[in-house]
């Protein structure tokens, strides 16, 4: 991870590179063309998180596109991480979307398999799954580092035109709680080998199993090759905890947490307390580089949560889209000149 040049130059990448714990959060776009909702949610997260994931038709329910909502979030001062699932787009659509996203200034992307359409509001739709998330990561990495499309063509408009490749900071998800457990870390390794720069995990309640998984991650040296952000979803009620435990495949909620919520006078407050403790505990685990907060439809609680977890204020870095950096820690300045160098380098494969 000690290469001198930044891959995409996003704020997320630079803060991760600085070694400080990173905070990302999820922002779910509206089930309408309502821009106010995005602006309101962005308002909660601005200055509070380092980047915000803009979900892509999550749980297979139609919402405003990730790229569209990301652009509005950017106008509101948030750095977006767009999400791309393999469910709705084939390799043509994904590549063209990534070119568009990059042209609009988006620099982070999270590659996901995607929830099956059966779970959403269009269960009769045809799915795509032209590729899986690992192939998607590999494709975006090749677009960035080898400057080629999936078909092998160079990313240029014509033979004489310049190569203008989309330089994305590439993320992938990991679920330490799915089965078969022994293969989970192997699958993470595949994602890293495919080119994932950062990982955001499924929300964690079962600390013991997460620690086990992280141990395996470290044993394989993966924590030195990829930034891992541990997923947190604050529990709002006992019912929510039970629902997560019983109905969400690949998720475990230990009895101890259920008991705490059951015994609490105010379950929402207790849920937040649990989340704060978890964040603090997670950040102590070797190999964890930050946290990813998925406060589903309750983005407004994120500032308070992070404040209590001692993660505010967030580090300030320069606008990644402007190379001229005049202030900020030296390390970040170096990183930024790295981006410039990177951009000026002649087109050649990066490995």
């Amino acid at each position: 991870m000690n290469t001198t040049m930044l891959k995409a130059g996003s704020r997320l990448e630079r803060i991760l590179r600085s070694g400080r714990p990173v905070v990302t959060a999820e922002l779910g776009p509206p089930k309408s063309a309502d821009t106010d909702l995005i602006r309101r949610k962005a308002g909660y997260l601005r200055g509070v998180v380092d980047a915000a994931n803009i979900t892509d038709n999550q749980t297979a329910i139609v919402r405003m596109s990730s790229i569209g909502a990301a652009l509005i979030a950017m106008q509101e001062g948030l750095e977006p991480v767009i999400q791309i699932t393999c469910r709705d787009r084939n390799r043509l659509a994904v590549q063209s979307d990534v070119l568009g996203a990059y042209a609009l200034g988006i620099r982070n992307v999270l590659c996901l398999t995607g929830d099956h359409q059966k779970f959403g509001n269009h269960p009769a739709a045809k799915n795509v799954f032209d590729m899986d998330s690992i192939q998607l990561v590999a494709m975006l990495r090749a677009m960035r580092d080898e400057k080629v499309f999936a078909c092998g063509d160079e990313i240029r408009n014509s033979k004489k035109a310049p190569v203008v490749e989309p330089r994305m900071f590439i993320g992938a998800a990991a679920n330490p709680f799915g089965d078969p457990f022994p293969f989970r870390v192997a699958r993470l390794a595949k994602k890293v080998n495919a080119g994932a720069d950062f990982i955001q995990t499924q929300c964690i309640y079962d600390m013991k199993r997460f620690r086990q998984w992280m141990q395996q991650v470290c044993d394989r040296g993966l924590h030195e090759r990829v930034y891992i952000l541990a997923g947190i979803t604050p529990l709002k009620s006992l019912r929510m905890a039970e629902h997560m435990r019983d109905n969400v495949a690949g998720l475990t909620v230990p009895e101890e947490i259920i008991e705490r919520l059951r015994g609490a006078e105010n379950a929402a407050e207790e849920g937040e307390r649990i989340a704060v403790e978890q964040i603090q505990e997670l950040l102590q685990i070797p190999g964890v580089h930050g946290v990813h907060i998925m406060a589903i439809e309750s983005e407004h609680i994120v500032p308070d949560l992070l404040k209590k977890a001692g993660l505010l204020p967030r580090p300030v870095v320069a606008d990644p889209l402007h190379d001229a950096v005049t202030s900020g820690p030296e390390m970040l300045r170096d990183s930024v000149s790295g981006v410039a160098e990177n951009r000026n380098r002649a087109a050649q494969p990066v490995g």
Partner: protein, 224 residues
């Protein structure tokens, strides 16, 4: 085999009702094995249609006939042609291929499908059939311990499993569907081949699948 199941009776009856005389034509191959459209099913369905017609005062005559294979021209013999000629319409109890063959063989007849053709699969136990192959056109079973990720993983993942695999079941339908990737994992582990699963499987060439358009195979050496 090709696995199919009968359409709801009312759907089939609504086809039959449009005519005064129909031929119910069974097929003796796949759909006989999967108990959807063989001679026995032809007999049962014919009786049900006749019974319903009597109860509802509809004037429908039902003829029954079953041939060895509806997807093969040679089995459409003279008897079959005569029976079809006598009827106003043919209700085929073959798979989708059989129905289309009938439509081609009997150009002046309306041909209706009595089955919904589902998949290429096998009998798992008496009365239970499951999909095993999606006809992807370029078989990759060698890399996956003989378990097909294309047909048997709900998301056709070549680098699975997804996060929804739990207790060996697929999140898409835990009651009925095993997670193909759990099976692949177990089989490869038992064979000491887990390392092979760490290899990143590249994109699949879907042009070999239906995505490349309807497929044909021509082999000059066996052509007449």
């Amino acid at each position: 085999m090709i696995v199919a199941e009968q359409k709801p009776f009312e759907d089939i009856y609504s086809y039959a009702k449009r005519h005064r005389r129909v031929l119910l034509l069974g097929c003796g191959t796949c759909v006989t094995v999967c108990m959807a459209g063989g001679e026995k099913e032809v007999g049962i369905l014919a009786s049900l249609v006749r019974l319903a017609a009597r109860e509802r005062n509809d004037d429908i005559t039902v003829d029954e006939h079953t041939i060895t294979r509806q997807c093969d021209a040679e089995f459409f013999d003279e008897t079959t042609a005569r029976k079809a000629a006598d009827a106003e319409a043919v209700i085929s109890m073959g798979c989708g291929v059989g129905v289309q063959f009938c439509a081609q063989r009997f150009p002046d007849k309306i041909v209706y499908p009595a089955l919904n053709t589902k998949f290429y699969g096998a009998t798992i136990e008496q009365g239970v059939w499951a999909e095993r192959c999606a006809g992807c056109g370029e078989c990759v079973l060698a890399d996956f311990g003989g378990i097909c990720p294309v047909a048997r993983c709900s998301k056709s993942l070549l680098n699975g499993p997804c996060g929804g695999s739990q207790d060996g079941r697929c999140e898409v339908d835990p009651e009925r569907v095993e997670c193909a990737w759990q099976l692949i994992y177990e089989r490869m582990e038992a064979m000491g081949r887990l390392e092979e699963l760490e290899k990143i499987q590249p994109f699949k060439d879907w042009s070999q699948h239906r995505d490349g358009g309807p497929r044909t195979i021509t082999r000059e050496e066996v052509r007449l």
